[in-house]
């Protein structure tokens, strides 16, 4: 899946480590999600959406979509 997590994170001035701490995951996980190499679980996707006050589909979109 593609996502705009990196843009949203940078808009808040957060580091990858800060975002990882907010989400309760490792920094490597945030890096992999931002690169589109790791699809987060549904609970983690919901936490990401909740953290940025938006819907999951606002952050993530299918590769072919």
């Amino acid at each position: 899946m593609r996502n705009d997590l990196s843009e949203r994170r940078q808009a808040r001035g957060w580091s990858q480590g800060r975002l990882a701490e907010e989400l309760g995951v490792s920094r490597q996980t945030v890096i992999s999600i931002e690169k589109g190499r790791f699809d987060p679980s549904l609970p983690l996707a919901f936490r990401i959406a909740g953290l940025f006050d938006c819907r999951i589909e606002d952050v993530f979109s299918p590769d072919g979509g």
């Binding site: 990882a20 309760g24 995951v25 996980t29 190499r37 790791f38």
Partner: protein, 135 residues
């Protein structure tokens, strides 16, 4: 955490010493110290691993993440372990077939040691490759 690490180390030392003593007692007379020393030295690493499993593995340090089950590292571990398991099954099957066809007889210790080493090396390499590819 420091106390747990010390407990793990002590457990490893005691376990290795006990195994060494057992091997010395059960071995041929006159080779007690040789067998005890070699067995203690060879089992020290795995014994410390056992101590780590008992006292450290189930705990978390100050830098631990809140949800380790949702991390990419957990995915890497699951992929590596599952693939290594399949590799072991394939290798064991091939070796078994070869032994059956050739009617060779191998020492069980040799075969099991090979399988354990292969499994550990397989998981280690797969984890390293995944980490390097993703990092």
């Amino acid at each position: 955490m420091v106390l747990r690490s010390v407990a793990a180390g002590v457990t490893g030392l005691l376990t290795a010493a006990a195994l060494g003593l057992l091997a010395g007692v059960l071995g041929e007379p006159g080779q007690f110290w040789l067998r005890a020393g070699v067995f203690a030295a060879c089992t020290l690493g795995p014994a410390c691993g056992l101590g780590w499993l008992l006292f450290v593995a189930g705990t978390t340090g100050p830098d631990a993440v809140a949800r380790p089950e949702e991390t990419v590292e957990q995915l890497w571990w699951q992929r590596s372990a599952a693939s290594a398991f399949l590799d072991l099954l394939v290798v064991a099957g091939l070796v078994l077939t070869a032994l059956a066809v050739t009617d060779l007889r191998l020492d069980a210790v040799t075969v099991l040691t090979g399988l354990v080493v292969l499994g550990l090396a397989d998981v280690t390499v797969r984890l390293a490759v995944l980490h390097r590819r993703e990092a």
